[in-house]
Amino acid sequence: MSVSREEVLRIAQLAELDVDDDTLPTLAEQMSRILDYVAQLSAVPANGSVKAFVPGPDAIRFRADEVTPSQLAFGPDEFAPDFKEGFFVVPKLGQFE
């Protein structure tokens, strides 16, 4: 298996995602199969001269540098889970490593 359970937990931490013990074995197995499957790309010789392809306009168009008021039909007090006096309320920050 290319991805261990410990690795899944480490990646889940990077992704800020709780993974419970029940789903961990299946998840590790499925992720391994997906990563083994996409690993066939490495069979193709790396070619540093190939320029990445990005669809869309050739150059980024910039908007005029003007302040425009946001055109929301209603404010965050109507869609935020907890919003008081102009602020989004969250639990205490806790420990961030």
């Binding site: 991805v3 690795e7 899944v8 990646i11 889940a12 990077l14 992704a15 800020e16 995602l17 709780d18 993974v19 419970d20 789903t23 998840l27 499925q30 992720m31 199969r33 997906i34 990563l35 499957y37 996409v38 690993a39 066939q40 790309l41 490495s42 193709v44 790396a46 070619n47 190939v50 320029k51 990445a52 392809f53 990005v54 669809p55 869309g56 306009p57 980024i60 168009r61 908007r63 055109q71 929301l72 039909a73 209603f74 404010g75 965050p76 109507e78 869609f79 935020a80 889970p81 907890d82 989004f88 969250v90 639990p91 205490k92 920050l93 806790g94 420990q95 961030f96």
Partner: protein, 455 residues
């Protein structure tokens, strides 16, 4: 002008498909208001258009088929939706879909699976399965969907309707909830090529709110041609492998014969990097998704899954409980391929392969080929549950559609026959921003191919 009650009645009648997420009461109330306000001068005046639930509307909630946005009311609407309303169309509710567009069967919705309109034991395809099913059931003449890897064309093929994925940059993505930003594009479903094309024409064109939307006028609709004289149609050999379902091949052969009879020159071509398209897609799309979906954290919008005592715990609990299994898998795969140590092996390699896949298409088009014809999907609609435990089997359903997304090209799927009663789709892939040519050929093919005859 359609009356609001008749429009709503047709949608409510299709309730058993679980294709519509909008409750009947909300639908009726909104349609009454929309009919009263609709502009009688618009080119889509009175036309009901159902909208996939990952496209923001002011009329209805936008959940993306996810618990993490359950009940979310967007404070703004997508440009495509605003353009539909300006043309007099009625926004006929929100359609069920795979969560955030991740899936090929509409079984990955937090609100239950969508049933295939012709066989309830089968899937309608996905991720825009709700939109496809409603058009196929005759509940609406057209619907909006979205594509990242085939999510309009694949369900269109499964359900026996027309689905168009326009060139990347043809339609504004403003208000389309992001999944893979370099691949995402709003697409359309229609009962006929014309219904789909006229909706596409309305929603296309420049938008200052989306810098990836090209500065071009809206798409002009071609006229229905008498023949395909002058068209050179390429048949990429990699799309007709020996293991292709024989009945799908028969349906394609019949369509190819008819295009020849209409005067088209048909020749075999090769897109040699096709075998790498699905693995390339399943690196790039999850990588972009892991980044785009970082915004769902239970702080600014959407429900909050509590029980956490600190902020990080809130993020993890909300995301852990709010996202379904397929979305979790893709976020983790995306985080993995972008993490240091793996970026070069997976992500950079996939970006290079994407460039080679796009170059394959340019090579063929540069040699005088106007359009490519392929099957849309390797087989007709599969049984519900059949591919749920095997993500890779599910991903292979996109094998003939992901390439157009990777290369940013327009493509259309239209019904070209049936296999044991189940629809088969044929696909035309066009050159960037030449949707008019592609639609012209589709008009011609649609006139001669028997969409419901056994192949």
């Amino acid at each position: 002008m359609s009356d609001a009650k008749a429009v709503a009645d047709r949608l409510v009648k299709a309730k058993r498909l679980n294709a519509l997420l909008t409750p009947p009461k909300d639908l009726r109330k909104s349609l009454n208001m929309q009919v009263a306000a609709a502009r009688p001068t618009g080119v889509l005046y009175g036309m009901p258009v159902a909208v996939k639930d990952n496209i923001c509307t002011l009329e209805f909630t936008t959940s993306c088929g996810s618990r993490i946005l359950e009940g979310f009311r967007s404070p703004y609407e997508a440009t495509a939706v605003a353009k539909l309303k300006a043309a007099g169309a009625l926004i006929a509710g929100k359609t069920n879909c795979d969560e955030f567009g991740m899936g090929s069967s509409t079984e990955h919705s937090a609100y239950g699976r969508v049933l295939h309109p012709l066989d309830k034991t089968r899937v309608p395809g996905g991720s825009s399965g709700g939109s496809a099913a409603l058009v196929a059931a005759g509940a609406v003449p057209a619907a909006l969907g979205s594509e990242t890897g085939g999510s309009v064309r694949q369900p269109a093929a499964f359900c026996g309707v027309v689905g168009i994925k326009p060139t990347y940059g043809r339609v504004s993505r403003y208000g389309l909830v992001a999944f893979g930003s370099s691949l995402d594009q709003i697409g359309v479903f229609g009962r006929s090529v014309h219904d789909a094309a006229r909706v596409l024409s309305v929603i296309s064109g420049r938008d200052p709110r989306d810098s990836t939307c090209e500065d071009r006028d809206p798409l002009r609709l071609p006229t229905v041609p008498e023949s395909l004289q002058g068209f050179v149609i390429g048949l990429p050999k990699e799309y007709f492998p020996s293991e292709l379902d024989p009945a799908v091949r028969r349906a394609c052969d019949r369509a190819i014969r008819m295009m020849k009879e209409l005067g088209a020159a048909v020749r075999e071509v090769s897109l040699p990097h096709t075998p790498y398209a699905v693995p390339t897609y399943y690196v790039i799309a999850p990588a972009e998704a892991s980044s785009n979906l970082a915004r769902y954290d239970g702080v600014r919008y959407g429900p909050r899954f509590n029980g956490a005592t600190d902020l990080r715990g809130l993020y993890r609990a909300t995301r852990g409980q709010g996202f379904g299994p397929e979305v979790r898998r893709r976020i983790l795969v995306g985080t993995y391929v972008l993490s240091s140590g793996y970026y070069d092996a997976y992500y950079r390699r996939a970006q290079q392969m994407r460039a080679l896949i796009a170059q394959d298409f340019r090579n063929v088009f540069d040699r005088g080929v106007d359009l490519l014809f392929t099957p849309t999907v390797p087989s007709p609609a599969f049984k519900a549950g059949e591919k749920l435990a095997d993500p890779i089997a599910m991903y292979m359903s996109d094998i003939f559609t992901v390439t157009a997304n990777l290369a940013g090209l327009p493509a259309i799927s239209l019904p070209i026959g049936r296999v044991k009663g189940l629809p088969v789709g044929g696909q035309l892939i066009g050159q960037a921003f030449l949707e008019d040519e592609m639609i012209e050929a589709a008009y011609a093919l649609e006139r001669v191919v028997p969409p419901t005859d056994e192949a």
